[in-house]
Symmetry: C2
Subunit: 180 residues, 2 copies
C-alpha cells in the first residue's frame, strides 16, 4: 500500500497512538488503514464412501487437486461461503454438516474453515476454476497431487474420524511457509 | 474506497471478468481491490465459578461490559489473537481450552471466534481500552449492560453447557442488524 484509498495522498508506516503495530497511515486525511487475515471457506463433499475433489484450473497449484474452497465474501456467513464455493468450483449442491476443520496459516495471514457436506446428487461438473471434478475413494485420493497442506490435513482427519465412527471439530496451525 | 492504494489513480466499481460481484478496480493499473470479512477473536476467561468481563472505555458501546475481544492481526493465529486481546484489555493471562463459539455477523461482515480460557491468576487490571475489569458469578452477570449480542450468546452457551456438565463448540449466525 502506497496511497490512501480514501483521499489518494501518500501513506506512511507508523505506529498510531495507543497501538503497538505499524499501520499504513495517510499523511493528509490521517486515516489508519488496517490489514487483517482473510478467511478461506470450503467444503468436504461426501457421496457414500467417496469425496469430491476439484483439479485446479488456476494458479497457484494449477493442475493439482483440492477441495472446493475460496475467500469468504463480505455479506455472507461462513456456511454460505462454503456452499457458494462448492457451487462455483464444482457446480455441486451440498447439505452442510457443520464446521469440521479450522486451520491457521499465520505466515500468509489466512484462516481456513472447512465444512463437512453431504453431496445432494451426482449432477456436478467443473466450474470455471476447475479442470476436472471427480469422486475419490480413500485408497484413490491423489495424496501426492493435492494443492494445499490444509486440504491434506482435512482429508486425513476425515478418514481417521470415519474409521473411528465419530466426526469431531479439529483446530490446527500450519506454521511452516514451505507448503502453502 | 475512491483511490487505488497501489498507484493512487481513481477506482471504479466493476464486475471483473470471470467474477460475479462488483469490485473496486483501478482505471490505471487495473488492480482489483477485494474486501473480505474480518475476524474478531476473544476469550471467555474463567476463574472458579466466575467469568472475567471488561467495561469498555472506547466506542462503540462505551461503558458496557464485554468479554476481551478484538480484530485478529496479520501474522497471528486465532488462539494467539485471543490471548493477545485478553492481555491488552484486561492484563490477564489465560490458558486457552479451544475454540468455543463461532458467530457470523454477515450484515457487518465479521466473524466472531471466542475461546474458553482458564484465568491463570488474579493479577488482572484494566488495559487502555477498559474502564474496569471484574469477575462475575452467573447470577451477577450484567445481562442488560452487555456490549454485544455475540458476547451474550457466548455467555448463555457457557452457563448452559456448564450446567449440563459438558462444553461443546457452537456455531451461530446473527442476522439482524439492530443489536450489533
Ligand atoms: Zn487519506
Ligand atoms: Zn492503480
Amino acid at each position: 500500500m502506497k496511497f490512501c484509498s480514501t483521499c489518494g495522498a501518500t501513506v506512511v508506516l507508523r505506529i498510531p497512538e495507543g497501538d503497538s503495530i505499524p499501520r499504513h497511515v495517510c499523511i493528509a486525511c490521517h486515516t489508519i488503514h488496517y490489514r487483517n487475515p482473510k478467511i478461506v471457506v470450503g467444503c468436504l463433499p461426501v457421496w457414500e464412501d467417496k469425496i469430491l475433489l476439484c483439479r485446479r484450473a488456476i494458479e497457484p497449484r494449477y493442475g493439482l487437486w483440492t477441495l472446493p474452497a475460496g475467500f469468504m465474501e463480505n455479506g455472507e456467513t461462513t456456511a454460505q461461503g462454503a456452499m457458494r464455493e462448492t457451487l462455483e468450483e464444482a457446480n455441486a449442491l451440498v447439505e452442510l454438516k457443520g464446521l469440521y476443520t479450522l486451520i491457521n496459516l499465520p505466515h500468509i495471514s489466512q484462516v481456513y474453515m472447512m465444512f463437512r457436506g453431504k453431496l445432494l446428487d451426482l449432477d456436478f461438473s467443473p466450474g470455471i476454476e476447475s479442470l476436472e471434478v471427480a469422486l475419490f475413494r480413500e485408497e484413490d485420493i491423489p495424496w501426492n497431487e493435492l494443492a494445499f497442506t490444509t486440504i491434506r490435513d482435512t482429508l486425513k482427519h476425515f478418514f481417521l474420524d470415519r474409521k473411528n465412527g465419530s466426526f469431531q471439530f479439529h483446530e490446527g496451525d500450519i506454521i511452516s511457509s514451505s507448503c502453502d
